[in-house]
């Protein structure tokens, strides 16, 4: 009797499984059309234009100007990640310690930029940062500086704009991790004889590492491929790889080189992402 029930159940499960496969087809179709096809096209172009071969890659890695934009991209991504990490950690920590009203206020302040167009926000930064902008004017008026600072169209401009844009992506995962930490653990630490600073470094901080990892990798990967902010706030010397790709394709119509740079970018991103997943998996196994 029970054997019969089991086998009947197994048959029914089998039927639903093939039904489920049918249900997946539209999603797979969509992915194939809008994601896989374009990526494969780009990949092919990097090997086939102007003719078949590896010459685009050879050129990319030989030419110091090309490699320079890749190096510059990494430099900016590392700097942006570190700065957002420090700022984001502080904001997230503040959010866990203040009252619930203040916490909501900070959360909304963090989220508001998401509801405004990135282009508008970046132009707003241009207005703020230009030599006749409010920041330079105020500093001049207060006598802190005697001539306007160059805050835009250079490395500083890109860093300011990118940190601003990326900050929420750092704050949110770190805050989520911090909020999930049982406050009883900090009490236990104090009860067992740890002064507040030691409770912070030995108990609280290690437990926030998953959030720190998630936020950092997210900011790093997003920054590597960013286009609008560096294009508007950066200078001609500090182009990032996104700008390089746009320039190759839009201005120079050099599809082969543009595609090559894109493939390099996607590959690097994937490597970092796989690396992150591995760390994440190790951590999850440990915890």
């Amino acid at each position: 009797m029970s054997m019969q029930t089991v086998s009947r159940k197994r048959i029914r499960l089998g039927a639903t499984r093939s039904n489920k496969m049918l249900l997946v087809i539209p999603a797979v179709g969509l992915l194939a059309l809008f994601f896989i096809y374009p990526i494969v096209t780009i990949l092919l172009r990097s090997f086939s234009e102007p003719q078949w071969g590896l010459q685009n890659y050879a050129a990319f890695f030989r030419e110091s100007a090309y490699l320079g934009s890749l190096a510059n991209t990494f430099k900016i991504a590392v700097a942006v990640t570190l700065i957002t990490l420090v700022l984001g950690y502080l904001v997230a920590y503040a959010m866990t310690t203040v009252g619930s009203k203040m916490r909501k206020f900070i959360l909304i302040a963090v989220l508001i930029p998401f509801w405004t167009s990135l282009l508008v926000r970046t132009y707003a930064w241009m207005v703020l940062l230009q030599s006749e902008g409010i920041i330079n004017r105020s500093l001049l008026y207060l006598g802190i500086i005697h001539e306007p600072l160059q805050l835009i169209h250079n490395f500083t401009g890109v860093i300011i704009g990118m940190v601003y844009t990326m900050l929420p992506f750092m704050i949110l995962p770190i805050y989520a991790t911090m909020a999930s930490i049982d406050p009883g653990l900090m009490r236990a630490g104090a009860n067992l004889g740890a002064p507040p600073a030691v409770v912070f470094t030995r108990i609280f901080m290690p437990l926030t590492l998953p959030g720190v990892g998630a936020g950092s990798i997210m900011v790093f990967v997003m920054t590597i491929g960013y286009y609008i902010t560096p294009a508007l706030l950066g200078g001609s010397k500090d182009t990032m790889i996104g700008q390089f790709i746009a320039e190759q394709i839009q201005s120079l119509l050099n599809w082969g080189m543009g595609a090559t740079a894109a493939v390099v970018l996607v590959t690097t991103t994937m490597i970092f992402f796989v690396f992150y997943l591995k760390i994440n998996r190790l951590e999850r196994r440990a915890s």
Binding site: A188, N191, L192, A194, P196, R202, I203
Partner: protein, 368 residues
């Protein structure tokens, strides 16, 4: 200066402790003296102030007024990490990023003990809680009961003056809880610990404690040994909170004779011993415990002046005893517990007409 005797008798002294929140008085003038080596339970429902008192002892909240003295010295000026008071938390609060051994070693590292000494003490503790070989595992890999034992070991390893336990067994299933109750009792006597134990489980409190302080609305309602509280509750709250009880509301009719005479709501006369705290005319309840009520089928065999006719409305077999629910002719509910002495002893059936009776010595008169 306190004499040694006084210091032992009054090891931890809570003096007029008060904790006010904006719109809530959590602890209202609580005073309590705990002896060295005593197992003291703070028993009460949630919001009764027992946990607040415990947190104040641990240093996690500042009392509005009052004092907490340890061996005559105030500890209120010390932050939690300098109090040297161990605590076992309800959720265990083991550090998930450390191994079991590192968890237990943590308080010793904070006290900057030598590495070899730490190693030795951690191993001793693992043996004590019967988890040797588990040192390199993570807390998440252990069962609830094992985690509980690790939490206990971590709170004991630094040999604290006092061990606080905040509902430490609430998250465990019944079987495991009973094993752990015995385990904690064993450690208490083996190591001579001073334990302050918070629980809402009256059975647990009765089983484990040397003394129990029953908390109600931020105050200590009554303090005493388990036996004392069970047999001589001073208030209706204590009688109802600790164990089952039959309550008969009424009025004191006579205090002058050898027995206290009470007229209950239905006009029936009930008797209790003379040593009761009440005066003639007081509104009272007469309380008698279910196991002290006898059931008699033959009217002629009744010896006590306390009896009433009743009908069995519910009968539950509990393995080692029966629990009956009866309704008296005046429509009062009476609970009776009867031990089973003989295999195959006949059980009363629903609908049976019987007499319930109890000795006046077993009845207690409480203010209603």
């Amino acid at each position: 200066m306190m004499t040694r005797q006084q210091a032992e008798e009054n090891y931890l002294h809570i003096v007029n402790l008060r904790k006010e929140y904006k719109d809530f008085l959590a602890v209202d003038d609580v005073s309590l003296q705990i002896k060295r080596g005593e197992f003291m339970t703070l028993l009460g429902s949630s919001g009764s102030g027992k946990s607040t008192t415990l947190l104040a002892i641990a240093g996690f909240l500042e009392p509005t007024s009052g004092d907490i003295l340890q061996s005559g010295q105030t500890i209120l000026d010390k932050p939690p990490h300098q109090r040297n008071i161990g605590m076992v938390f309800q959720q265990y609060s083991l550090f998930p990023h450390m191994t079991i051994a590192d968890n237990i070693a943590f308080p010793l590292k904070m006290r900057k003990l030598e590495k070899s000494e730490i190693q030795r003490r951690v191993n001793d503790m693992l043996k004590l809680i019967e988890l040797d070989g588990f040192g390199q595992r993570r807390p998440q890999e252990l069962s609830g009961g094992q985690q509980q034992r690790v939490a206990l070991a971590r709170a004991l390893v630094f040999q604290p003056n006092i061990l606080l336990m905040d509902e430490p067994l609430a998250a465990l299933d019944k079987k495991l809880r009973e094993t752990m109750q015995l385990e904690i009792r064993r450690l208490h006597s083996q190591l001579g610990l001073t334990i302050i134990y918070v629980t809402h489980d009256q059975e647990e409190a009765l089983k484990m404690s040397d003394r129990i302080a029953i908390f109600n609305k931020g105050r200590i309602e009554q303090l005493g040994t388990p036996l004392d509280l069970y047999d001589h509750p001073r208030t209706r709250f204590v009688a109802e909170f600790l164990g089952d009880s039959n309550l008969f509301p009424g009025r004191v009719a006579d205090r002058s004779g050898p027995q206290t005479v009470i007229t209950d709501a239905s006009g029936r006369t009930l008797y209790a011993s003379a040593k009761q705290d009440c005066g003639k005319g007081d509104e009272v309840v007469l309380m008698v415990r279910p196991e002290k009520v006898e059931i008699e089928t033959n009217r002629d065999k009744l010896t006590s002046p306390n009896f009433m006719e009743a009908k069995v409305v519910e009968s539950v077999f509990l393995g080692d005893n029966y629990k009956y629910k009866l309704t008296s002719s005046a429509n009062q509910t009476i609970i009776v517990k009867k031990q089973i002495h003989m295999v195959g002893e006949r059980m009363l059936s629903v609908g049976d007409q019987v007499y319930v009776t109890w000795d006046p010595e077993n009845a207690i008169v409480l203010a209603s």
